[in-house]
């Protein structure tokens, strides 16, 4: 930047060059859409995004200021806490014009404005669950339902996890009969892509049901 020649009228050089290390979209891409990848902490959201994304997953951190319950300062005011919420995301260029972004959601159903913002305009969500911690998925599903965001569920098969029958998972999570429920290996690109295809097929069928 310092080595760029500057004119007398424009001391700041115009932004004409691209930065190294940044994966820009192909020049033909002009439209974007997004899906959410939801699930509790360490269920495998980032692994999933990483295995399908055409670029290394990126992370952006939002600072949330909120009141901590039950802790007052000297003046009797509620104690404020600043928390950072990390959002890991990736992308997939689907054709010449269109790119799909995959946003990992926060691991807990807190910071509703952030959730609302992520959900707004999203086509739907893939919810990854772990059969050893199904109860933790409940709150996430409830939140997505509250946001009115359609979703499909995928059981991330961890090594050593019991191969629960999907029926019992469906029952434990109280899923509706039409909610897709599949098994997936978030580390595997083909498996993860198939999971996304299942989700998007479901979203498509919902909008345009076959007679």
């Amino acid at each position: 930047m310092d080595s760029a020649p500057s004119s007398e009228r424009e001391p700041v050089p115009p932004p004409s060059s691209e930065r190294e290390g940044v994966a820009y979209l192909p020049s033909s891409v002009t439209r974007s859409t997004k899906l959410l990848v939801a699930g509790h902490f360490s269920v495998g959201k980032t692994t999933f995004v990483s295995s399908v994304s055409e670029v290394e997953p990126l992370r952006t951190e939002e600072a949330m200021t909120h009141a901590s319950a039950g802790v007052d300062d000297v003046a009797g005011l509620p104690h404020k806490t600043r928390t950072t919420v990390a959002l890991d995301f990736g992308r997939l260029t689907l054709n010449e014009e269109l790119v799909l972004y995959l946003f990992g959601t926060p691991g807990q159903p807190r910071f509703l404005p952030l959730w609302h913002d992520l959900a707004k305009g999203a086509l739907g969500a893939l919810v990854l669950v772990d059969t050893r911690r199904l109860a933790q998925s409940d709150a996430i599903l409830a939140l997505l339902e509250e946001q009115g965001l359609p979703y499909a569920v995928a059981v991330n098969e961890f090594d050593g996890a019991h191969r629960h029958a999907l029926d019992s998972v469906r029952e434990a999570l109280d899923l509706t009969a039409d909610t897709p429920l599949t098994a997936c290996d978030a580390r595997d690109r083909a498996s993860s892509l198939h999971t996304l295809i299942t989700l998007v097929s479901f979203l498509f069928d919902r909008m345009e049901p076959t007679p």
Binding site: V22, L58, A63, T65, V200
Partner: protein, 116 residues
């Protein structure tokens, strides 16, 4: 110098409102952004320059990618990007309006299937 003062204004406003400062327009994290041929003014803030240096005229990046690469929280990035758009320094390739439609879903489905 106006630069540092402008940057401090942004930080002060952001902290004062607890992150609720609204950008001048609705920008989704997946909205695409490109730079224009308009040169940045001398008064451009540090954050504005960082964002401008990142953006390309030919190839877009999403608001989220700009935030990540510029090391800004998404909410701050949106404010900066919106302001730069207001001044014609950044643009979006198409309307940032995302609507789910059967056509779009079919397009996404076809695109995903082609990758397997």
């Amino acid at each position: 110098m106006n630069g540092p003062r402008r940057a401090r204004d942004l930080v002060r406003a952001y902290v004062r409102t607890g992150g609720l400062t609204r950008p001048s327009r609705d920008l989704d994290l997946s909205a695409l952004v490109r730079s224009t041929t308009v040169a940045p003014p001398v008064e451009a803030s540090g954050e504005e320059r960082r964002v401008l240096a990142l953006c390309s005229r030919q190839r877009a990046l999403s608001v989220a990618e700009v935030a990540a690469h510029a090391d800004l929280p998404p909410s701050a990035a949106r404010i900066v990007i919106a302001r730069l758009m207001d001044h014609g320094l950044l643009t979006t390739p198409t309307r940032a309006h995302i609507t789910a439609s059967p056509d779009l879903l079919k397009e996404v489905l076809d695109g995903l299937r082609a990758l397997v």
